[in-house]
């Protein structure tokens, strides 16, 4: 187990290299006019610079290979470059905003599972009953609703009817947890909705399959109660596909968090990314994308390792 984990962690380095190549290549596709744009924006911000200065700052005056490796080696030293507009390193900017994004993603994950797993188990236990049909129909509808549209409606109608709007100023969880949760609850619930529909259906299908196994019949014949059978016998054995779905949902959740952060005024990395793209602050964009990719990589690793924890029979190579 320990050997496998070390091997997987070491394998992250080549993947990281490839992710960096892709991000770097994307950034190199930016047309030359972007430099003029940056010069103009900096001029607006009160800094008189020439195009050559900006190119030097972006490292565009050096060969691409040299640029890439300085950036890549810098990442391992914790140096992601500096923002063009704010006199701050990219890493410290991201560090400031990472908490908000992580909180949003984690809360969304928790809400998704808290809703979808019990309901999915319930649907499997009461297959083809009226409540099963109702819950499944609702879950299909949830899958088809665009998150940002529901978010727009949630911002419009409560404000229209009850003059209610979620708080728009960010407070850290550690200074005022209640105020913080008030702000995060609505966006994370919205983020959870579409994922819930998908996951609920997975939980139901997989549990239905396990419920047909011989060991479940044996458990019934031993007189074990339904609750215990569902949780200890059926769900535990149905968990591997569910974990795969959860792991696979992370890139989508991050994409969704970019929208939700912008909509609900949450100062996270997603909001920063969109802002920096508008400003053409490319070093920051590079850093943000890289951080998201690293989060996805780490989640994939955790998912793979958790297979062994759920089912000790799984052979890790």
């Amino acid at each position: 187990m320990g050997k496998y984990v070390t091997k997987r962690i070491l394998l992250l380095v080549p993947t990281l290299l490839i992710v960096c190549i892709i991000v770097f290549a994307l950034m190199r596709m930016i047309p030359g006019s972007a430099v003029d744009m940056i010069v103009y924006r900096l001029g607006q911000a009160g800094q008189q610079v020439s195009a050559a200065d900006v190119e030097a700052k972006l490292g565009m005056d050096k060969p691409a290979i040299w640029q890439f490796f300085t950036w890549f080696i810098g990442i391992f030293r914790g140096d992601f470059g500096t923002s063009l507009f704010q006199n701050e390193s990219v890493l410290s900017m991201i560090g400031r905003q990472l908490m908000a994004t992580l909180e949003l993603v984690i809360l969304t994950l928790i809400l998704t599972n808290v809703i979808s797993i019990p309901l999915g188990l319930y649907c499997a236990a009461r297959q083809d009953s009226i409540s099963d049909y109702t819950i499944r129909s609702i879950s299909i509808v949830l899958m088809a609703l665009p998150v940002f549209w529901i978010a727009t409606l949630v911002l419009i109608y409560p404000a229209l009817w009850w003059q209610y709007a979620p708080p728009a100023t960010y407070v850290s969880f550690f200074t005022d947890p209640i105020q913080n949760l008030k702000m995060f609850f609505v966006p994370s619930l919205l983020g959870a909705l579409s994922q819930t529909g998908h996951q609920l259906r997975t939980v139901r299908t997989v549990t239905l399959e396990t419920l047909r196994q011989d060991y479940i019949r044996t458990a019934w014949s031993k007189g074990i109660g339904e609750g215990r059978i569902m949780l200890r016998y059926a769900f535990r054995n149905a968990m591997i596909p569910v974990i795969t779905v959860i792991g696979g949902s992370i890139p989508g959740l991050i994409g969704g968090s970019v929208i939700l952060e912008n909509m609900f005024n949450i100062p996270g990395i997603g909001a920063q990314l969109v802002n920096s793209l508008d400003n053409r602050d490319y070093p920051v964009v590079q850093g943000c994308v890289l951080i998201f990719a690293i989060i996805v990589m780490v989640v994939n690793l955790i998912v793979d390792i958790s297979y062994k924890w759920i089912d000790p029979r799984v052979e890790l190579e």
């Binding site: 490839i18 992710v19 088809a144 665009p146 529901i150 727009t152 419009i156 991050i254 994409g255 994308v289």
Partner: protein, 301 residues
Amino acid sequence: MKDLFKKKPMGALGLILLALFVLVAIFADVLAPYPMVNGNMTVDVIHKLEPGSAEHLLGTDSLGRDVLSYLIYGARTSVILGICCTILSTLISIVIGVTSASIGGKFDLILQRFVDGWQCIPGMLILIILMNIMGNGLVQLILAMAIPAGIGGSRMIRSSAISVKDAGYVKMSGILGGNVWWKMLKHIIPNIMPVILMGLAGSLGGVIMMEASMNFLGYGVDPGTPSWGYMITNQGRSNMYVAPWLALYPGILISIMVFASAMFGDAVRDLMDPRLKGGIGSYNSKKIAKIAARMGKKQTV
């Protein structure tokens, strides 16, 4: 097709809804009460932000444009985008997946590592970066959505191409002198067609949803092109207290279209997946009983 209507009523409903959207898109000029003049919607600033009335069934937006007409033209944008994107991304998937599987070896290994790396970056981010680089517009949007989706989808095509590659007839073709390209075009691609079609049917809804979400971040088609997503974000949000219906209608349409394509995609998958299709390999007890009965008859005769 017959199976679709007989066995999968929900899938058939999806297909009908999609066909309806396509028809509306084609005949937009006839259907819209206020058709476009020279590619522009009629603007009538005096009658702006009006609720629904006999003249404007669903009201007007902040420029006095008829909402119903706008939505009808928006269907055209969505349909064009959905069709072009799914076809282009499927083509990209086929090229990457099939070449990777048929050439194999180091080429496959290196290409697959790149696909792995690509999949670590959330698709949304690649999309907004590409849009930022290329600028707004319909063609740009199609390219920006098709490329990431194509690379992501190549995985499934590659794995099914690999399973076909080792079949006897492909090897035989090689022995008879067929080179890699011949084998790919003549044998591998026709035999993985079900997987390709499954991907096509399933990804339409995602494209529509993505386009709408992109609008919120300020990327999408030109503001002059009617688009449901653009309407929600720009008209709906900025006039949300005066005319809340502006955000409501396009969202309902997007949901219906996504729902329809999801239902249709599911049905196509169920009908095409050989494991669910029936035959001895499947767990369809009726069919097994039928085959068993036939075999029994043969033996007695």
